[in-house]
C-alpha cells in the first residue's frame, strides 16, 4: 500500500471504526469477515502508528507501510499479533483498545496469516502450546465483557499419533511380561508403567533381558551383546507439552524401521530367546553346559556371550501357537491376526480388517513359505493406521444442535484409556465398551473414577503430564563443560549424567507420592520438603562450601591424611616388628612340625596385613569433602522406576530413600537438582529459561518470540557472575521482554548449575534477589529475596493454580484453550479447589467435559 493510500484510509477509518465498535459482538472461533481496510488499518492507526511511523519508528519498526497480510510481511504481522494478543501493545500508558476490538483484531490476523501461508507451510503458531497463554487469563476465569458470546465447546475431530513412549510401551507388551503391581513396593516398575529410558537416557525396547543369567565382560560388553532396538517414532520437542495431535505424522523412514522391528518382535513372540541366540545351548539353567559347545575366544560384546534361563516369561500368544509346528490352520492364522491387531490398535479388527490382514499373510506365505511369510505378513499390522494413530473421528454419531458429536464406544473408550494409560484397556473398560456402556458422560465418570482409584492400574500419562509441565527430566541431556562442572562440586562426566537420569526417576517417584495423598497437589509439589534420593544426592542436595570453608576443609583434610598416614606407619612398624620376631623364630632348627606350620600361617597373615597397610598408605585418604557439605539423609527405603538391565552391573538401580531436604535450603521440586539442571546450560545456570518457565507455567504469561535480529548471547566473562553478564538484557530494546523473565529466574542463583546450594559466587556473597512484576495478580507482585520466598508466594496464589489447570487442560484435551473453553476451565478449577487440590478431581472434571467428549467435524 502506498503511503498516500494509507493516509487516506486512516483519515476516514477512525470515525468508521469507532462507530462500528459499539455494536460489536464477539463469538470466539467465528471467522472475522473483515478486510485490512475495514478492520486492521483503523486499529493500527488508533493504537500503533503514533509510535511506529517512519519518524518515531519505536524499536526500529514502522507500520506505516504495512498493508494486508501476505507472504512477505507475515513475520511482521505475526509479531503484531503476539504483541496485541499478549496485551504488550499498545503500551500500558497509552489508551487501550476495547476487549472485543483487541480480540477481533488478533483473530483477524490469525485468519489472514492462515490464508496467506496456506501453500507456504501454513500458519500454526496459535495452535502451539507455547502460545496457549495468548488467550487472556482474566477472560477465561473472570467476568466476560458485554458482547462476548460463548458457544458450547468441543474439539475438532482428529487423529492423534501415538508418542514414542507410548509406542515402545505398546510393543514391549508383546514380548515382555512386566511384574504385577506390588502394594508393598509401589514405585518399582510394574506392568502398565511406561518403559523407562536406559542408563544413557535412550528409549529402547529390550529383548529377553529378564532371562539372562550370565554374560561375559563388563557393562559395555553387556550393552552391546543384548538385543535392543531404539525408539522409531520421533518427537522433536524438548520442552513443555510435546504431544498435541497436530504435531506429528509417521514418515517413510519410520515406517520402514517399524517393519524391520516388527519381524524381530514377531520372532521373539514365537520363539523367545531362541530367536536371539547362535546356539540353542545358550538357553539353559546350567551355564556350564553351554561352555562345552560355546565358541572359543573372547566373546565379550557378542550375542553368543549370553546365557538365558529356560523359564518362559514372555507372553504366550496365538503367534507362538501358530509357529509351534510347521502345519497350521486358517483358524490359527486368523487368531494370530486378530490377537495382534487388538494388541497393536487396542480394539478388535472389523471383519474386513481381519480379512485384509489374513489375506496379506496368506499371500506372503504363498510366496516365501510359512516361516518368512507369517512374519512378513503379520508385520503389516504394525503399520495399520490405528496402530500408529488413535482416531477420534466420530464418523457415525448424530450432531447435536451445535453441530457437535459425542465420542462413543471404542473411540470414547480409547480416548479415556489414553488419558491415563499406555497399554490397552483393562477387561472392565473393554467390557463397558463392548457392552455399549461407553456412550455418556456418566459412563466416562464411572470408568475414570474406577481407574483413578485403583493403584494397580498404572497411569503413566499422569506422570507424563508432570514431566511435560515441569520439565524436570532433561538434566541428563544437558552437556556440561568439564571445567565448569568441576567447579560446582558435583561429579563430572558419565557420573553426572547417570545421576541426572536417576534424579529424574527420583522426582517421578516424589510426584507419585504427592499424588498418592492427592491433596493440594500443586502446592505440595512447589513446597514439599520431602526428597527422594540416591547416594549421589548427598552431593547434589549438598551445600557448596565457601572459599574460606573450603580452605579450612582442605587444612582439616591435610591434617587428617597426615594423622592417617602416621597411624598406618605405627601399624606398619608394629607388623614389621612382629614379622621380624616370627622370621627369627622360624629359622630356629629345633622347631616342632606343628608349631612351624602354625608360625608359617601366622607369618602369612602378617605378610598380608603388611601388604594391606602398604596399600592403604598409598591410597587411603580421609573422606573429608573439601568442596561440598554433604546433605544428611535419613528415612525409609523406597523404590523408583528404572530401565531393565541395560548396562550390565552398571545399570540403573531402583533403590531410593525418602528423606527430608536440608533445612532452609530447598523448597519443592523447582529447587531440586533435577529441575535446576534441566534449566541450566554447559557453563552455568540458565536464569532466562527458569524465568520463562515461571512466567509461562505458573503466572500464565506469554513472551513474544525472540526477534530474529537479536543475537541472543551473553558476554563470555568468566570473572563475572551470571547476573552481571545478564546486563546486556537490560538494554531498553531487550528489557521490555526480559523484565518479565530475568527477575523470576535470578532468585535461583542460590544454586549452582549442578543444583548445589551455595551462599557465594566467585568468592562474593551471592545475590539471589528478584521480582515478580505484571503477574496479573497484584498480591504477587513485588521484590523477593530468593527462590524460596518467591516459590512460597507463588504456591499460595489462586492464579497460579488456575494456570496449572490451563496446562492440564492442554495436556488432556490435546489443544490450546479458547474462550469457549472458559466454562470447562472454571469447572476444572472448581473441582480442584473444592476437593482440596485433588489431581483426581481435576482429571475427572476435564475428561467428563464437553471439550473432551465432543468432536466437531468440519462441514463437508
Amino acid at each position: 500500500m502506498s503511503r498516500l493510500r494509507f493516509v487516506l484510509t486512516v483519515f476516514i477509518l477512525p470515525v468508521f471504526g469507532t462507530l462500528a465498535k459499539a455494536e460489536e459482538t464477539y463469538i470466539p472461533g467465528q471467522p472475522i469477515d473483515e478486510t485490512f481496510e475495514s478492520l486492521a488499518a483503523g486499529f493500527l492507526d488508533r493504537h500503533c502508528i503514533e509510535c511506529h511511523d517512519d519518524v518515531t519508528a519505536e524499536a526500529d519498526l514502522s507500520l506505516l507501510e504495512l498493508g494486508p497480510v501476505d507472504e512477505t510481511n507475515a513475520a511482521i504481522w505475526k509479531s503484531v499479533w503476539a504483541q496485541v494478543a499478549l496485551q504488550e501493545m499498545p503500551p500500558k500508558k497509552k489508551e487501550q483498545p476495547e476487549t472485543i476490538e483487541r480480540l477481533r483484531f488478533a483473530d483477524w490476523i490469525v485468519g489472514e496469516l492462515q490464508e496467506a501461508m496456506k501453500d507456504k507451510g501454513g500458519f500454526t503458531a496459535h495452535l502451539d502450546p507455547n502460545k496457549g497463554n495468548f488467550v487472556d487469563h482474566n477472560l477465561l476465569f473472570g467476568k466476560l465483557p458485554e458482547g462476548v458470546e460463548l458457544v458450547p465447546t468441543s474439539t475438532p475431530a482428529r487423529i492423534w499419533r501415538v508418542t514414542p513412549q507410548e509406542h515402545i510401551t505398546r510393543l514391549n507388551e508383546l514380548i515382555n511380561t512386566e511384574p504385577a503391581y506390588d502394594p508393598e513396593k509401589p514405585g518399582l516398575r510394574t506392568r502398565g508403567d511406561v518403559v523407562p529410558t536406559n542408563h544413557g537416557g535412550e528409549l529402547k525396547l529390550y529383548f529377553g533381558t529378564d532371562r539372562i543369567i550370565r554374560w561375559e565382560g563388563g557393562t559395555v560388553a553387556y550393552a552391546t551383546a543384548v538385543k535392543s532396538v531404539p525408539v522409531v517414532l520421533s518427537s522433536a520437542r524438548k520442552h513443555g507439552l510435546e504431544n498435541y495431535p497436530d504435531f506429528y505424522s509417521v514418515n517413510s523412514a519410520e515406517a520402514t524401521q517399524i517393519m524391520g522391528k516388527a519381524v524381530d518382535i514377531l520372532k521373539y513372540m514365537a520363539y523367545g530367546p531362541l530367536s536371539l541366540v547362535g546356539f540353542p545351548e545358550q538357553i539353559t539353567d546350567d551355564p556350564k553346559s553351554y561352555d562345552k559347545v560355546k565358541p572359543k575366544g573372547d566373546l565379550r560384546g557378542l550375542p553368543t556371550a549370553i546365557v538365558y534361563n529356560t523359564e518362559v516369561v514372555r507372553p504366550l500368544t496365538p503367534v507362538a501357537d501358530l509357529m509351534k509346528e510347521e502345519a497350521y490352520t486358517e483358524k490359527q492364522l486368523r487368531e494370530a491376526v486378530d490377537y495382534l491387531f487388538e494388541a497393536l490398535t487396542f480394539r478388535p479388527p472389523t471383519a474386513k480388517e481381519s480379512r485384509d490382514y489374513l489375506t496379506i499373510t496368506q499371500d506372503s506365505i504363498e510366496r516365501v513359505g510359512k516361516e518368512d511369510g507369517v512374519f512378513m505378513g503379520l508385520s503389516a499390522i504394525f503399520l495399520d493406521r490405528d496402530s500408529l494413530f488413535r482416531p477420534e473421528l466420530v464418523e457415525s454419531g448424530k450432531p447435536d444442535e451445535h453441530g457437535r458429536i459425542m465420542l462413543q464406544d471404542w473411540e470414547l473408550g480409547l480416548a479415556l484409556n489414553h488419558a491415563l494409560r499406555y497399554i490397552r484397556p483393562d477387561q472392565e473398560l473393554r467390557n463397558a465398551i463392548v457392552e455399549g456402556r461407553m456412550r455418556t458422560r456418566e459412563d466416562v465418570e464411572r470408568e475414570v473414577t474406577r481407574m483413578l482409584e485403583d493403584d494397580s492400574i498404572r497411569k503413566p500419562r499422569v506422570l507424563r503430564f508432570f514431566r511435560d509441565y515441569f520439565d524436570y527430566d532433561l538434566g541428563g541431556y544437558i552437556c556440561k563443560d568439564n571445567a565448569a562442572q568441576a567447579r560446582t562440586g558435583a561429579p563430572n562426566g558419565n557420573g553426572h549424567f547417570r545421576a541426572m537420569f536417576d534424579a529424574a526417576a527420583s522426582t517421578d517417584r516424589l510426584v507419585e507420592l504427592i499424588l498418592e495423598k492427592d491433596q493440594n497437589v500443586l502446592r505440595e509439589l512447589l513446597t514439599t520438603q520431602q526428597v527422594v534420593t540416591t547416594n549421589s544426592d548427598k552431593t547434589y542436595f549438598g551445600r557448596k562450601l565457601t572459599p574460606e570453608e573450603s580452605k579450612v576443609a582442605q587444612a582439616e583434610k591435610r591434617a587428617a591424611d597426615k594423622a592417617l598416614a602416621e597411624a598406618l606407619k605405627v601399624e606398619l612398624e608394629d607388623v614389621n616388628a612382629k614379622l621380624e620376631t616370627l622370621t627369627a623364630k622360624l629359622k630356629e632348627d629345633d622347631l616342632d612340625k606343628d608349631l612351624k606350620r602354625g608360625l608359617t600361617q601366622e607369618k602369612k597373615k602378617l605378610d598380608d596385613e603388611k601388604k594391606r597397610i602398604t596399600r592403604d598408605a598409598k591410597r587411603k585418604k580421609s573422606n573429608i569433602n573439601t568442596s561440598v557439605e554433604m546433605a544428611e539423609f535419613s528415612g525409609p527405603r523406597i523404590y523408583a522406576r528404572v530401565s531393565r538391565r541395560s548396562f550390565g552391573t552398571g545399570s540403573m538401580k531402583p533403590d531410593r530413600q525418602l528423606a527430608t531436604a536440608p533445612e532452609g535450603q530447598r523448597l519443592g521440586i523447582l529447587t531440586h537438582p533435577s529441575w535446576l539442571v534441566s534449566h541450566s546450560d554447559a557453563m552455568d545456570n540458565h536464569a532466562i529459561h527458569r524465568g520463562i518457565w515461571i512466567r509461562k507455567r505458573l503466572l500464565g504469561g506469554g513472551i513474544p518470540d525472540v526477534p530474529i535480529t537479536v543475537d541472543a548471547q551473553l558476554p563470555d566473562e568468566p570473572q563475572n557472575t551470571l547476573r552481571e553478564r545478564m546486563r546486556v538484557t537490560r538494554e531498553k530494546y531487550c528489557w521490555s521482554c526480559h523484565d518479565k523473565m530475568d527477575p523470576l529466574g535470578l532468585p535461583f542463583e542460590m544454586y549452582n548449575h549442578a543444583g548445589l546450594f551455595r551462599t557465594t559466587e566467585l568468592g562474593e556473597p551471592i545475590d539471589t534477589t528478584g521480582e515478580i512484576i505484571e503477574s496479573g495478580d497484584p498480591a504477587l507482585d513485588g521484590p523477593v529475596e530468593n527462590a524460596i520466598e518467591m516459590i512460597q508466594k507463588l504456591a499460595e496464589s489462586e492464579r497460579v493454580e488456575q494456570v496449572f489447570v490451563r496446562h492440564a487442560f492442554r495436556f488432556w484435551i490435546g489443544r490450546n484453550e479458547t474462550l469457549n473453553d472458559a466454562p470447562v476451565l472454571q469447572a476444572a478449577h472448581r473441582a480442584y479447589r473444592d476437593s482440596g487440590g485433588s489431581m483426581k478431581a481435576l482429571i475427572t472434571s476435564l475428561v467428563t467435559s464437553d471439550a473432551f467428549l465432543y468432536r466437531t467435524r468440519e462441514e463437508e
Binding site: G200, N251, S252, A253, E254, G301, D356, D363, A380, M683
Partner: protein, 439 residues
C-alpha cells in the same frame, strides 16, 4: 512436525539410506552444488581410535607435502594415491566425550556415549540433503562380528537425521542386496523381494483407504504417512525402472553372501554394495562404520583372533594386529578410489568429484579425551581441497570445523556445524571452515 522433505530425506533409516525425491538418478551427471565441490562424500569410521602414528610418515612433525615421503606400513596401500591424500592431525573432539566411542557425536560433533541418543543430525545426513540428488542420497553400512551382524542386522550408532532420530546401518549384505537390486535378482532374493513388494503395495492401499474421511488438517498430516509408502514403493519402482542400468553395477551374489567363512566376507560384500551404489548413481553419501561405532568388532578373516574390547586396549603403532586392520581399511579405501576412478564423469572420473573422509568414532584411541582427532581425506574434488600433504593443526579447532568445511565446499554457507556460539567460546578458537584444508 515432520515435513515432507524431511520424510523423504530420512527414508534411509529403515533401509540404511536416505531417499531423495528425484524421479531418476543422475548417474553422476548432476551439477555439483558448488564449483569444484564434492558430488559425493564417503565417511569411513574405524572404531577403537585412529592413532596418528599409524598414518603420519615417520619424522613428519610439521605441515608439509607428502611427495617424496613414504607412508607408514599400515596405510601403505594408499601410496599410489598419495597425491589425493591429506593427513590432518590436531583437530579435537573433547566436547564429544569420545572415550569408548562418541557414537552419534563423532559425525554430529556433540556429546555422545553409550546409550545416549543423538542430539542433532549428523554431517553425513546433512550432506545427503545438499549434494546433487540421487535416489538414495544416504546409505549406511556397518561391519561387525558375524554373530552381531546376524543377530542385529541393523543398528543405529553413528548417523542421525535429527535429535532422537537415528539412522540405521545395514550389516547383512543379503538384505541390502535385496533392497538395492531385488528387481534384477533371481531365485530366493527375487521371491523375497516380490513378496515384500506385494505386501507394501497392499499396506499402501489400506493406509490410503483409511485416510479417506479425515478432517482436512489431518488429511495433510496423514497424507505424509501414506506418501511414505508411496516413497517406499516408488523407490522400488524407480530402481526397477532403471534395472538395465543397475545390472551393469550390481555385484554378483556369491558364496561370500550366503555362506561366509569369516565376517570379513560380509565386510567385503557390504563394501562392494556400497561401491556399486555410488558408481550406479543411486547414492551420494556412503557412511561405513567398521565396528559399527561400538567398541567391539572382529576381523578373524585377517587372522586376528582377538576381538572386541581388547583391541582397543592395545597400543596401535607397530602392533601387528592393528597393522592388519589398518591395512585392511587402506585396501578398502584404495578399492573405493580405483572403482570410482573407473567411471568417467564430466571431463574426468567420479573420483575427481568425490571426497573420502577416513577417521575413527573414537578419536585417536579407545580411552581418550578426544584432544586429538586424526583424519585422512582422500580426493581433492577438482581442486576444492588441498591434497598430497600432511597438515598439523594446533588442537584448538573441533571436528565440527572439518564438517563446516565440507559443507562449505558443498555450497552451504555456515560458520559452524552443530556448535552454539557459547560452546564455540570454549571449544573452537576460530569460526568457519578450516582454511588449512581448502584450496
Amino acid at each position: 512436525m515432520i515435513s515432507r522433505r524431511k520424510s523423504l530425506q530420512t527414508l534411509a533409516s529403515g533401509f540404511g539410506a536416505a531417499m531423495g525425491s528425484s524421479l531418476l538418478p543422475d548417474f553422476g551427471q548432476a551439477a555439483s552444488s558448488a564449483a569444484g565441490g564434492p558430488k559425493r562424500v564417503i565417511f569411513f569410521l574405524q572404531n577403537q581410535g585412529f592413532d596418528p602414528k599409524t598414518a603420519i610418515p615417520s619424522g613428519m612433525k610439521n605441515t608439509g607435502s607428502l611427495a617424496g615421503v613414504k607412508l607408514p606400513t599400515p596405510i601403505s596401500a594408499l601410496e599410489p594415491f598419495k597425491e589425493k591424500l591429506h593427513i590432518i592431525n590436531g583437530l579435537h573432539g573433547i566436547h564429544t566425550s569420545p572415550s569408548h566411542s562418541a557414537f552419534f557425536g563423532a559425525l554430529g560433533g556433540y556429546r555422545g556415549s553409550d546409550g545416549v541418543p543423538p542430539s542433532a543430525s549428523t554431517i553425513d545426513y546433512e550432506l545427503s540433503k545438499v549434494l546433487p540428488e540421487t535416489l538414495l542420497p544416504h546409505l549406511c553400512i556397518g561391519m561387525d562380528s558375524m554373530e552381531n551382524m546376524k543377530a542385529k542386522p541393523t543398528v543405529a550408532n553413528l548417523s542421525a537425521s535429527g535429535a532422537g532420530q537415528p539412522i540405521f546401518m545395514h550389516s547383512n549384505p543379503n538384505h541390502l542386496y535385496q533392497m538395492l537390486y531385488g528387481g534384477i535378482s533371481q531365485g530366493e532374493i527375487r521371491k523375497q523381494h516380490e513378496a515384500k513388494s506385494g505386501m507394501f503395495d497392499r499396506i499402501e492401499e489400506l493406509a490410503a483407504a483409511k485416510g479417506g474421511n479425515l478432517p482436512s488438517a489431518d488429511k495433510q498430516r496423514y497424507g505424509q504417512y501414506v506418501d511414505g509408502f508411496s516413497d517406499i514403493n516408488g523407490l522400488r519402482e524407480k530402481l526397477g525402472s532403471v534395472s538395465d542400468h543397475l545390472k551393469d553395477f550390481a555385484p554378483e551374489v556369491d558364496s561370500r553372501y550366503t555362506n561366509p567363512e569369516f565376517e570379513t566376507d560380509w565386510h567385503d560384500s557390504l563394501l562392494d554394495l556400497g561401491i556399486s551404489a555410488l558408481k550406479s548413481g543411486i547414492t551420494s553419501v556412503l557412511t561405513i562404520g567398521s565396528g559399527r561405532g561400538e567398541i567391539f568388532g572382529a576381523w578373524k578373516g585377517l587372522g586376528v583372533e582377538q576381538q572386541g574390547h581388547n583391541l582397543g586396549h592395545m597400543p596401535q603403532p607397530d602392533n601387528p594386529i592393528w597393522v592388519k586392520i589398518r591395512q585392511y581399511n587402506s585396501r578398502m579405501l584404495a578399492k573405493l578410489i580405483e572403482e570410482l576412478e573407473s567411471v568417467p564423469e564430466g571431463s574426468g572420473t567420479m573420483m575427481d568429484n568425490t571426497l573420502i573422509v577416513y577417521t575413527s568414532n573414537n578419536a585417536d584411541k579407545q580411552h581418550t579425551n578426544g584432544a586429538n582427532w586424526p583424519v585422512m581425506l582422500l580426493g581433492n574434488c577438482n581442486g576444492a581441497f588441498k591434497s598430497g600433504q600432511f597438515t598439523q593443526l594446533d588442537g584448538k579447532r573441533p571436528i565440527n570445523a572439518l564438517y563446516t568445511t565440507i559443507l562449505k565446499a558443498s555450497g552451504v554457507n555456515c560458520e559452524r556445524f552443530n556448535m552454539s556460539e557459547q560452546m564455540a567460546a570454549k571449544y573452537d578458537s576460530g569460526s568457519g571452515p578450516l582454511k588449512e584444508i581448502l584450496a
